[in-house]
């Protein structure tokens, strides 16, 4: 027997890494399962793409042949380095999937362009969707990190300036203002992401309401859970709220969900599917407070007391808010860049200012903000192409959303259409003990798959959108 070493594979869309040595326990693949032996219908646990979409993980992704020598002004200057960038630099703001994807896509085309990535956070590379499934998978926050900003920057041959917020953009001088000093750019990419909406909650513990949207806030959450069984109040029964609720239940916590709507995922799912999800959560002991909002939260003994708008109160240990994402636009708006709901960009991801691009959760293309992973890599490619003078525009598509709730796995395509559709608009392809498959009969393609049918999502999506 020959001992060939195990290989690692990376999912093109979301960056999930399949390590043959470790296998994929959730997908039923024991450690040591080689790529060749993976079933054809295997699905990426993060984004739902297929085995086909895995590519060998390069030892060092997209390394610059020899990292470009830092131009004069970017080297730590003689006064302790408060000057960064240069009139040649591509400066990327944000170290989420969007920021790193642009760095990779541009570096692949141009091994020598000086690139500086600036970010307010610590810049670690991680798959954000895992934040709502990590508890059930027994993963600590540190396990989610694939590489530190320094590691990834070195691999790509770029510079990274972490824990540095861009306070202001000065397009006239092509300069970014930060507390560490000014940054000069030739071209700028805004990959600022989105923040969780802050709800108006009164009470002396209002400041303790947590919003999980990045590694740091997630660490905070895990620290407060503290290995104990807790009662958690979740504000918002949207995608992130439902996923977190299921994950918290799986880890043995008790959960109450507060939402002004009458059913979960009201903006994404047809009513009867939402009711089914609700029933599955009921079985796990989730307590629903629907048609309600949280009015106040106060300290009470060693815990908190939540008061709803109708005056009812209950005791809870932790309040988590997941009430919707708002694209971060302020730095752009203040610089005179056109902003709608997000930072407005065309199909080349160009904003209203020359040489300034936007992508990811902060961007709005043709009136739509995408808050999903799938479009981001395609947007990053479009930016790299445009910078190289190629014409490969981004094609907006209705999103395929996988609701990562093990209680009832769901894939939904074109949720906006799905949520508002009349029951008579659906063709029920299958509905049995394993789940359901509903296809919309209107002109705009939409479908909903539940249970074991949820796995068909990618295939069906491809049949519609190629």
């Amino acid at each position: 027997m020959t001992e060939t070493p195990y290989h690692k594979w990376i999912c093109d869309a979301c960056g999930y890494i399949y390590d043959e040595a470790k296998g994929d326990a959730d997908g039923g693949l024991p450690p040591g399962t080689r790529y060749e032996d993976m079933p054809e219908d295997w699905q990426c646990p993060l984004c739902g793409l297929r085995k086909l979409d895995l590519r060998p993980l390069p030892d060092a992704p997209a390394v610059a042949a020899s990292p470009p020598a830092a131009p004069e002004s970017t080297a730590v200057d003689r006064h302790g380095g408060r000057r960064f960038g240069s009139a040649e630099h591509l400066v990327i703001v944000g170290a989420g999937i969007a920021g790193w994807s642009v760095a990779e896509a541009v570096r692949r085309r141009d091994p020598n362009l000086p690139i500086l990535l600036v970010t307010a956070c610590e810049g670690a590379v991680y798959a954000k969707p895992s934040l709502s499934t990590a508890l059930a998978h027994g993963r600590a926050p540190a396990d989610l990190v694939e590489a530190s900003a320094e590691q990834r920057a070195a691999e790509l041959g770029i510079e990274a300036l972490t824990r540095t917020r861009v306070i202001k953009i000065d397009p006239a001088k092509r300069r970014l203002i930060t507390a560490r000093g000014g940054i000069t750019y030739a071209r700028l990419v805004l990959a600022l992401g989105a923040r969780q909406r802050q709800l108006d909650v009164a009470g002396d513990a209002a400041a303790a309401v947590l919003r999980v949207n990045d590694l740091r806030s997630y660490r905070d959450l895990r620290q407060r859970l503290d290995g104990d069984r807790r009662h958690i109040t979740l504000l918002g029964a949207g995608l992130i709220g439902c996923e977190l609720a299921d994950d918290l239940c799986a880890a043995g916590h008790r959960v109450s969900i507060v939402d002004p709507n009458q059913r979960p995922l009201a903006a994404l799912l047809p009513a009867d599917i939402a009711e089914l999800l609700r029933a599955r959560f009921d079985a796990k002991g989730v307590e629903w407070r629907l048609g309600q909002t949280l009015a106040r939260v106060d300290h009470a003994d060693s815990a908190l007391r939540a008061t709803l708008a109708d005056g009812s109160t209950f005791a809870t240990d932790l309040v988590l808010s997941a009430a919707g994402l708002l694209p971060i636009t302020e730095p752009a708006a203040r610089a005179g860049i056109a902003v709608g709901h997000g930072i407005i960009a065309d199909r080349r991801l160009r904003t209203s200012l020359p040489d300034v691009y936007a992508l990811g959760d902060c961007a709005e293309v043709e009136g739509r903000c995408f808050s999903y992973i799938e479009p981001i890599r395609r947007q990053a490619e479009a930016i790299a192409a445009d910078m190289a003078g190629e014409h490969v525009p981004f094609q907006p598509r209705p999103p395929l959303v996988r609701v990562k709730t093990p209680s009832l796995p769901i894939s939904v395509c074109n949720g906006r259409v799905a949520a508002d559709a009349d029951p008579t608009d659906w063709r029920c392809v299958s509905d049995d003990a394993d789940g359901a498959r509903l296809e919309h009969t209107g002109t705009e393609p939409a479908f909903v798959l539940t249970g074991s049918y949820a796995r068909l999502g990618t295939e069906l999506y491809r049949s519609h959108f190629g």
Binding site: H79, G80, R82, I167, D170, I177, A179, G181, G182, R219
Partner: protein
């Protein structure tokens, strides 16, 4: 208490400025006072330790001390940017007066973010400059950073507190002045109280200390407390720790008025000799254009942060401290450059360059000083890395 200082009656003139005034109008009014009233005295303030009392009252009447105080403005808004820019206009000419302005602004800010009773009594007199005041908080800031122990302690008595202890240097003081400071409660060292100290109170002594190389015109004294009674009416906040949390961002933000003014003054000095000496000065480091860009970057950042002085997050305060450190370091480089650009002319004892050199060290050593900032930032970075 009968010894309490008399608050001068307000004049019609100072009330007129309570109406909302634009930041540009305020800066223009400040510049006029600087040019006509302050500039003729700058050299004497520096060398003889003359305290610019009349200038301070003029600045107050012009509205220079109220821009950042919502409860002292007709529109109820705050404009820290305007307060910082006005202080910078003063500091560009004379840092003694610039620092006195900071003391006044900051003392009033304490009342703004403190409890209602003291605010109602003291905010308007301080905002208008009719009562002059200071801040004895260096010790407090350092104590909360674990650098030294609190020097004042108070004991609860009927109607107020009896305070004992001493503070080394507090500026902008006089027999008829007040200042904000913080003391621990004896018997419960975890609790602190923030109060306004009346310099005329029995048991309180101002002691003239040795002389400084600059900032002599700031009326800086050692403050000795011997059973000084502080009535409840003058308690700014009964919870000192929570108070400091609210006050600290504004306190440090205001200091940029001193730094930005001093640095701009140095750049101006460099520029003033350019027509004559540009042909050799071009061989120097830290040319005025380079310094100007770094200053503009700092000011741009500060004026943006100054829009949200009530923000209490750690990240926000870290940014303020990073910029504060940068301002101190840039002040030292700018004043050094002013010396080198002006040469022997700047070395004359009457020259602005050498005064600005001495003044610039104050920007770097006043609390939070360069070393304290580096210590605090190192701690914050380590905390962020392990978080």
């Amino acid at each position: 208490m009968s010894a309490a200082i008399q608050i001068p009656k307000s004049t019609a003139a100072s009330h007129a400025f309570a109406a909302a005034q634009s930041a540009d109008e305020l800066v223009a009014a400040t510049r006029a006072i600087v040019e006509h009233e302050l500039a003729p005295q700058t050299a004497r303030i520096d060398t003889e330790g003359l305290y610019p009392k009349a200038v301070m009252h003029s600045l107050g009447a012009a509205g220079a001390f109220r821009a950042h105080l919502p409860d002292a403005r007709a529109d109820g808004c705050h404009d820290f940017g305007a307060a910082i820019r006005a202080m910078a206009a003063v500091s560009q000419e004379c840092l003694s007066t610039g620092f006195a302005t900071w003391c006044q602004d900051t003392c009033a800010w304490y009342l703004q973010v403190g409890e209602a009773q003291a605010r109602e009594r003291w905010l308007e007199p301080l905002a208008s400059g009719r009562v002059l005041g200071g801040t004895g908080m260096s010790n407090t800031m350092k104590a909360f950073s674990g650098i030294e122990d609190l020097r004042l302690s108070g004991e609860r008595v009927d109607g107020g507190y009896l305070v004992n202890g001493s503070l080394p240097w507090v500026s902008n003081l006089g027999a008829d002045h007040v200042f904000g400071s913080l003391f621990t409660l004896s018997g419960d060292t975890n609790r602190t109280v923030m109060a306004l100290v009346d310099c005329s109170a029995p048991g309180f002594t101002l002691r003239q200390s040795a002389h400084f190389v600059a900032l002599e015109g700031t009326r800086t004294f050692a403050c000795l407390f011997d059973n000084v009674f502080i009535p409840d009416a003058n308690v700014i906040d009964h919870d000192g720790a929570a108070f400091l949390q609210r006050a600290r961002a504004g306190l440090v933000l205001l200091q940029f008025g001193m730094g930005a003014g001093n640095i701009q003054g140095c750049i101006d000095v460099c520029r003033s000799v350019e027509p004559l000496l540009g042909h050799v000065n071009q061989f120097l480091d830290d040319r005025p254009d380079e310094l100007q860009q770094e200053l503009d970057d700092i000011v741009d950042a500060v004026l943006t942060l100054a829009e949200t002085p009530y923000e209490t997050s750690k990240d926000f305060f870290r940014e303020i401290l990073q910029l504060r450190l940068a301002a101190g370091e840039l002040a030292l480089r700018a004043s050094q450059s002013a010396m080198l650009h002006t040469g022997a002319k700047g070395y004359l004892s009457s020259a602005p360059a050498q005064r600005k050199l001495r003044e610039s060290y104050f920007v770097a050593i006043v609390t939070p000083a360069t070393k304290h900032l580096r210590k605090e930032l190192a701690r914050m970075e380590a905390e962020g890395a392990s978080a």
